[in-house]
């Protein structure tokens, strides 16, 4: 067997496994004093990792392990987006990790997070349902540990239990669907299976089961009930990771599977997605308006954003794929900025995450308030920021495929979402407050990450070469 193909095409996964081993060893040998520089060490490693893998080395696609693992340039782009998101989360997490009760388990946080990232990388370039399933579970089992990371807080444990039980249930349903695909098609390779999908009732049923499992990962509406509780109970850094990185990977692989394996039953999955998109966007908007806790609020906001992301999946065209990836990138910048602010305010105010606690934030912490405002504007899609362009591209892609009514419903919901995003802005700038969160200076990592996100929010939309660059690679999907 020729091993050189493994090293030349699976370089992202191999490098990431190396990073994980290095972090584990550092945790073992660094000692009490060395661990103070844990964040610097991990962030530098991740920086090298991102710098080394950000550019896809090969122009074409290739199969490794007989097609189990498929290298595509566009998957390489998605992996580097995921890695950058992880790096930003690491930059934000130090204030929380150096707290008294979590200080001794910093290493665990980094190793678990990197393991989920490794799982997502395998999932993103899977070419076989077994590879896809293993990647997905490698992403979701450590994720449950991360959600329940604050051992002495009841909320964190409750969130972890809700997450792991729903995850198990969803993956059980998904496997049941996959087992019937196997029974009717006789193979589980994406490429061989496409020819065997003929739209028999059993296959449609298993398509529904399969979609349920991924819909849970993406927290689309009929499967979203775990989202708000998990987001609220989990530590804030974990919430931001969960809302951005894990969602991005699942959205991408869902598109790949639908386009590669199920083109012959596209009527069925487009109908399914249609219903789910309308429900996700609308229901999440209605629930977001009545939230009192900012983390819960962001949970519903991310559910409705997932609905918009699905607009890129429903197209099934290279243009839809490009706008999907661009949307994920922009959403990552905006959402990580918002969660960065939430996290640093929580750490410096003794755990305040209610929306009323943000009243009058502008008077005491003007910079944080402005960054939060810009992030929310980008999430809502107000013109000069990147969020407007990403929404525009994804709506245009869906409109081109003839989903006129769907785009119209999404547009109406964008206006509703503007209302509730502005509620937060109003709380920070206008609502008076006797004792607002006192002025504080956040740590270096958080400031750096917020600057990066801010640059992303402002620049990604204006620098058109980003969108074109992604478009160059997403030709073959």
């Amino acid at each position: 067997m020729d091993y050189s193909a493994i090293f030349s095409y699976m370089y992202t996964e191999i490098a990431l496994a190396g990073v994980i081993v290095a972090v584990l060893l550092y945790d073992l040998i660094a000692g009490e004093r060395g661990r103070r520089y844990f964040q610097t060490f991990v962030c530098l490693l991740m920086l090298f990792f991102v710098a080394g893998t950000v550019y896809p080395y090969h122009g074409g696609t290739a199969d490794v392990f007989g097609g189990m693992y498929q290298y595509t340039p566009v998957a390489g782009i998605v992996k580097s987006i995921l890695a950058i998101g992880t790096l930003i989360v690491f930059l934000q997490s130090d204030a929380w990790l150096s707290r008294e009760d979590t200080r001794f388990k910093r290493g665990e946080f980094y190793v678990l997070t990197l393991s989920t990232l490794l799982g997502m990388d395998f999932m993103v370039s899977a070419g076989h349902f077994m590879m896809f399933f293993i990647g997905m579970e490698l992403a979701s089992v450590p994720m449950a540990c991360l959600v329940a990371f604050d051992k002495y807080k009841g909320n964190s444990a409750e969130a972890g239990a809700k997450f792991i039980l729903s995850a198990l249930f969803a993956s059980g349903l998904m496997l049941y669907g996959i087992s019937f695909f196997y029974g009717t098609a006789g193979t589980l390779y994406f490429e061989d299976m496409a020819a065997k999908i003929d739209g028999s009732p059993l296959q449609i049923l298993s398509l529904v089961f399969f979609f349920t499992g991924l819909g849970f990962k993406l927290s689309l509406v009929p499967f979203h009930l775990w989202t708000a509780d998990t987001y609220q109970g989990a530590p804030t850094s974990v919430t931001s990771y969960l809302s951005v990185v894990s969602k991005a990977a699942a959205a991408f692989i869902l598109t790949v599977i639908f386009v590669k394996v199920f083109p012959s039953v596209s009527d069925y999955w487009q109908l399914m997605l249609y219903i789910v998109i309308v429900l996700s966007i609308t229901v999440a908007n209605v629930f977001a308006i009545r939230q009192k806790n900012l983390k819960r609020f962001m949970a519903f906001s991310s559910i409705s954003q997932a609905g918009y992301i699905m607009l890129g999946v429903i197209c099934g065209t290279p243009y839809g794929m490009t706008s999907l990836i661009f949307y994920l990138l922009v959403y990552m910048a905006a959402n990580l900025a918002a969660f960065g602010v939430i996290s640093t305010v929580e750490q410096h105010s003794g755990g305040k995450t209610g929306i009323e606690d943000y009243n009058g934030l502008y008077r005491t912490n003007p910079k944080l308030a402005v960054i939060m405002t810009l992030a929310l504007f980008s999430l809502a899609g107000i013109p000069p920021f990147a969020g407007f362009f990403s929404k525009f591209f994804i709506f245009a892609a869906a409109f081109e495929q003839g989903f006129h009514v769907l785009v119209f419903i999404a547009l109406i919901n964008t206006v509703i979402s503007l209302y509730y995003y502005l509620l937060i802005v109003k709380a920070m700038f206008i609502t008076p407050n006797e004792n607002p969160v006192p002025a504080f200076r956040s740590d270096r990592g958080t400031r750096l990450s917020l600057l990066l996100c801010l640059a992303g929010i402002i620049a990604l939309g204006i620098v058109s070469s980003v969108f074109d660059g992604i478009g160059l690679y997403s030709f073959g999907m």
Binding site: I164, S171, S179
Partner: protein, 102 residues
């Protein structure tokens, strides 16, 4: 020889018993056991399809092996979290997991 349909009847019953149990049980461990029923019904499906329909390849057997391994890992994590809940709240009834809702 036993026909394939009988195996599939067993696995389907296991699947839906699992779903019913997951939705009605009020104890976290009982819910976990119900989910295990679902995962085991999937394993039966894979093995039966492989044995009866595609005996020349081993894809289904391997998938069920991996599925068993992964579900064991998931169960371990779930039980660890349930123990943690027991330490925090002194019982594992679902009705006590109500600090966060809506």
């Amino acid at each position: 020889m036993v026909h394939m349909e009988y195996y599939l009847i067993v696995s389907t019953i296991m699947m839906f018993v699992g779903i019913y149990g997951f939705l009605t049980r009020r104890n976290l461990l009982a819910m976990l056991i119900s989910v295990e029923l679902i995962l085991n019904s999937v394993d039966i499906n894979f093995v039966v399809f492989n044995r009866f329909l595609f005996p020349e390849q081993l894809e289904g057997f391997f998938f069920s092996l991996f599925a068993i391994g992964i579900s064991a890992a998931e169960t371990a994590v779930a039980i660890a979290i349930i123990i943690n809940i027991y330490r925090n709240m002194r019982n594992i009834q679902v009705k006590n997991l109500n600090r966060m809702k809506w």
